[in-house]
């Protein structure tokens, strides 16, 4: 890790110093059981090991009539496995400060493990048991079901959660992406032990698995670990095909008696493997990326004091792509804010960024890349992301030169491609009396 950090840090140093690809790269492939792709960053600075992995599939593999299976499973794997019941399993993790967690994303079932290297054998043993032989005893199953039920209930009145659920349902009708990750109260109640086991046996396999390991472990030991943890899983996953979908247009207004109206907006995006993706990434940064100098931040917050925060991002899923943004403003100023956002996006689509904006954005993105790699856990996450997106093991070295190569024409083209349809989706969550989804702000579907 130290070496990797130093190398990345070069970018911060010289700004436009591109790291030559010939230099030794400290990410290496390690041999796992057949089908398993695993990368390692070997580093002994801190006596710990962080590992992130993903099984392709995710919540999109939930049965169509039972959304929430993958999510429920993600909470149950550490609640008893093999001969250990829930309490014993949790105590074993706790006594050795082993952190193990799972998360069901839209397209992938994620896991991460963090352990002191002195406890690694116990940690790998517990992870192997969790993946290979979870118990699903009645007490933890019902307890976790109750926790998720409470969370679903809570989400109904939470403006952020309510907006997310509604936007997904509208943008992806009759598609797995449109279903709630946590499930509904009804689907959750119907999930059985068999559903959990069926998901596990179909999705936890070796040919859809990617693993990123960072820390105090040799390639040889990593190979042994991979064989122990993942070797006994089936060689092939049995996945249900998922259709590609373009996010649908829509206007959503959810009535909640809050003083502030939450606004979400977005539209179709661009594929991760599209040649214009990096340019799109940069122009999104200029429009609404995470710094205080973006166009939307300047117009909405700095000039007019309409919101505390506003941002946009690119969403790249396995079967759909979108740009998505959000802000929140005093309920009576929501219509004005939406109009301003639409106007800014339209102008940006037509004109694209200025040369100065592009130069500044590139400089920021190149320099800040190193900051994504400043801890073992963050490195593991970054590397797994590179694996999932199939960007290649040399991507960390190449990435800044890809940003550097973006010309103003590339940027203008990407802005046009991304934003010329404007915001086809607008959702508001706020008091109905200031409802913002009027005909005037609606955009006809142009898909």
């Amino acid at each position: 890790m130290a070496k990797l950090l130093v190398r990345l840090g070069m970018a911060v140093f010289g700004l436009l110093v591109i790291i030559p690809a010939s230099q030794a790269m400290s990410i290496q492939k390690v041999v796992g059981p057949p089908g398993v792709e695993a990368w390692l960053v070997e580093d002994y600075t801190v006596p710990m090991i962080a590992m992130d992995f993903v099984f392709a599939g995710g919540a999109a593999q939930d049965p169509a009539d039972k959304p929430g299976v993958a999510n429920m499973l993600s909470s149950l794997l550490d609640e008893g496995a093999g001969a250990m019941k829930s309490a014993a399993f949790q105590k074993a993790l706790d006594d050795r400060s082993i952190s193990m967690s799972f998360d069901a994303g839209r397209d992938g079932f994620y896991g991460d493990l963090k352990t002191l290297s002195e406890n690694r054998d116990e940690a790998f043993g517990l992870l192997a048991a969790a993946l290979q032989a979870p118990r699903f005893d009645t007490e933890p199953v019902e307890r976790i079901r109750a926790q998720i039920a409470a969370s679903i209930k809570n989400d109904a009145s939470d403006p952020q959660a309510a907006a997310t659920l509604a936007v997904c349902a509208k943008a992806f009708p009759n598609h797995p992406y449109g279903r709630p990750l946590d499930g509904t109260s009804d689907s959750l109640a119907a999930i059985s032990r068999d559903d959990l086991e069926a998901y596990r046996s179909h999705v936890f396999a070796r040919d859809n698995l990617k693993v990123a390991i960072v820390g105090a472990i040799s390639p040889k030991d990593a190979t042994a670990m991979l064989a122990r943890v993942f070797g006994p899983l089936p060689d092939r996953a049995q996945l249900t095909p998922v259709a590609d979908i373009v996010p649908q247009a829509g206007i959503i207004a959810i009535d909640q008696p809050n003083p502030q109206t939450l606004i979400r907006f977005g539209g179709p995006g661009i594929k991760r493997n599209d040649p214009d993706f990096m340019a799109a990434y940069v122009v999104n940064h200029i429009l609404g990326g995470g710094t205080m100098s973006s166009r939307l931040y300047t117009e909405v917050r700095e000039k007019r004091g309409l919101a505390y925060t506003i941002s946009t991002s690119l969403v790249t899923l396995a079967h759909a792509d979108a740009f998505a943004g959000g802000t929140a403003t005093r309920a009576d100023r929501a219509p004005e804010t939406i109009a301003l956002i639409k106007d800014q996006i339209a102008r940006f689509a037509a004109e694209g960024p200025t040369e100065a904006e592009l130069a500044k954005a590139k400089s920021y993105m190149i320099g800040s890349y190193a900051l994504r790699f400043d801890s073992s856990s963050k490195i593991a996450r970054q590397i797994l992301g590179i694996m999932v997106d199939n960007l290649g093991i040399d991507y960390v070295e190449k990435r800044n030169s890809l940003i550097e190569a973006i010309s103003i024409d590339d940027a203008r083209r990407a802005a046009r491609r991304l934003f010329s349809e404007g915001t086809t989706m607008v959702a508001t969550v706020g008091p109905a009396k200031t409802k913002t989804a009027t005909a005037e702000t609606s955009v006809p579907p142009q898909l």
Partner: protein
């Protein structure tokens, strides 16, 4: 995800002009150790850190971390929301926002542009006790950010228009963080009841009606009194040496004259807590009820030796994670709750807070939940903890201290917060060892003294039928 906790954000932190940053509730349960020890040897947090003071009274701490050519640069001022004058609640936080509005030498946006062009990240936040500004950036730019930061320590230049527009921003921030969230409103009400006299009872962001009247003059009055080098702490963590930092500090911060003497931080204290209080918030926007209790306890700065450490370990055994007593009893054994736990928040100048929370499972009434929580608390108060529980809590502390070696920014934050709330650097470094010294007797004494309902506020959050709405 093991525990779907509905615990509201109960930190007194308020971030920040730019992006929302989640901060750890128990900042102290993280640390930094360069030389990981044998299993029974106490880990020392940031063992290489050094401190010195500039001629104008500004304290400097340097934490070398040479893993990457990056530095985290933070300036802390010893002024927080608990220093807001009566009727001006929110002014410390408003001033934090206005510090991004430019100086006589550098117009608004110039500093931020310099940071972002270098790929750096910046932010700021306000707590009840302190206001901090920070940048994480390539180390060759350290001198530049120090020069800009020193400039805005004395050169802030505010126009009326800027101030009014930024006031709208903090009003939106309040709506987003507090008014849109019944759980946050309950937290505010509980805080106001817990502190009967101390200004910790005032929300960091301010009460809406007072925020609406804040002016540039209010902000500048605080600025002139508190933003002076002798009331500031510089923390630099990263790929630097103390000598380099000293040299850079001398020609930047070192040139800012002392312009006031804020003096001792002697704020109004609490009377003896005699009356248990309860606060019940009923709101049509609540769909999931919850229960919580806060006890008035000492902080790391105000407690007697060992008291805060004992409270830290007590909170861990009582309510951290799924093997804790509260989770086991309420969530697993009795099946009354979906979540239950406790925490100790001790990084404050005058008082700490010991929090306990639970959310009911299904339609379990909150009264029943409270009875069950009370039984767990009574048991630990009357019978203490076991040697095994204590040993395993200490083991977790040690592991967390090693894990936290990973984050330079978090380390700068831990040290800055401790120093801004009156602890010496040495106390931060020796924290794991002091946790190692905690005995079962210390924990019993802390539980008996502090888990006393008279010191507490109990809060409930329950749904109400919507009124006058179709």
């Amino acid at each position: 995800m093991d525990q779907r906790s509905l615990i509201p954000d109960r930190t007194r932190f308020l971030a920040a002009p730019h992006l929302f940053i989640a901060l750890l509730v128990v900042v102290c349960l993280a640390g930094f150790a360069r030389t990981p020890a044998f299993a029974d040897e106490p880990v020392r947090i940031a063992p290489d850190a050094t401190t010195f003071t500039l001629d104008n009274g500004m304290q400097v701490v340097v934490v070398p971390d040479h893993r990457a050519p990056i530095v985290t640069h933070m300036v802390w001022y010893k002024i927080g929301a608990a220093d807001d004058p009566p009727g001006k609640s929110g002014i410390a936080h408003f001033l934090e926002h206005l510090m991004f509005k430019g100086t006589k030498a550098h117009p608004a946006g110039e500093f931020s542009s310099k940071v972002s062009e270098g790929g750096g990240q910046e932010n700021a936040f306000t707590t009840a006790d302190a206001t901090a500004y920070f940048q994480t950036i390539g180390k060759e730019r350290l001198g530049t950010v120090m020069a800009f930061e020193a400039d805005r320590m004395e050169g802030l230049d505010l126009s009326e228009k800027t101030v009014l527009s930024e006031r709208d921003v903090i009003l939106e921030e309040r709506r987003m963080r507090i008014d849109n969230d019944p759980g946050a409103l309950l937290g505010e009400a509980m805080n106001a009841a817990l502190y009967q006299n101390h200004h910790y009872g005032i929300p960091t962001i301010g009460w809406m009606q007072e925020m609406q009247g804040l002016t540039a003059a209010d902000a500048l009055a605080q600025y002139r009194h508190y933003y002076t080098p002798n009331n500031a702490i510089l923390v630099v963590a990263g790929d630097v040496t103390p000598e380099e930092v000293h040299r850079l500090a001398d020609v930047t911060f070192g040139r800012v004259p002392r312009r006031s003497e804020p003096g001792e931080r002697n704020r109004p204290k609490e009377p003896p807590p005699l009356a248990a209080r309860s606060v019940d918030l009923v709101d049509s926007r609540v769909s999931q009820p919850s229960w919580q209790r806060d006890y008035l306890v000492p902080s790391y700065s105000s407690g007697k030796p060992g008291e805060a450490e004992a409270l830290d370990v007590l909170a861990d055994i009582l309510g951290r994670g799924t093997t804790s007593r509260l989770y086991r009893a309420l969530v697993i054994d009795q099946g009354l709750a979906t979540s239950a736990g406790s925490y100790y928040s001790g990084e404050a100048l005058d008082y700490g807070r010991f929090g306990v929370y639970a959310s009911p499972r299904g339609d379990v009434p909150l009264a029943k939940l409270q009875t069950a929580v009370d039984a767990v608390i009574a048991d630990i108060r009357d019978h203490g903890v076991t040697a095994e529980e204590l040993a395993s809590a200490k083991q977790r502390t040690r592991a967390q201290a090693i894990y936290a070696q990973d984050s330079q920014a978090m380390l700068a934050r831990i040290i800055g917060m401790a120093l801004a709330t009156g602890q010496p650097l040495d106390a931060v470094q020796g924290w794991p060892a002091r946790i190692g010294d905690v005995t079962v007797e210390d924990i019993s004494a802390a539980a008996k003294t502090f888990l006393d309902v008279r010191r507490s506020v109990t809060g409930t959050l329950t749904p109400a039928p919507a009124e006058g709405r179709s």
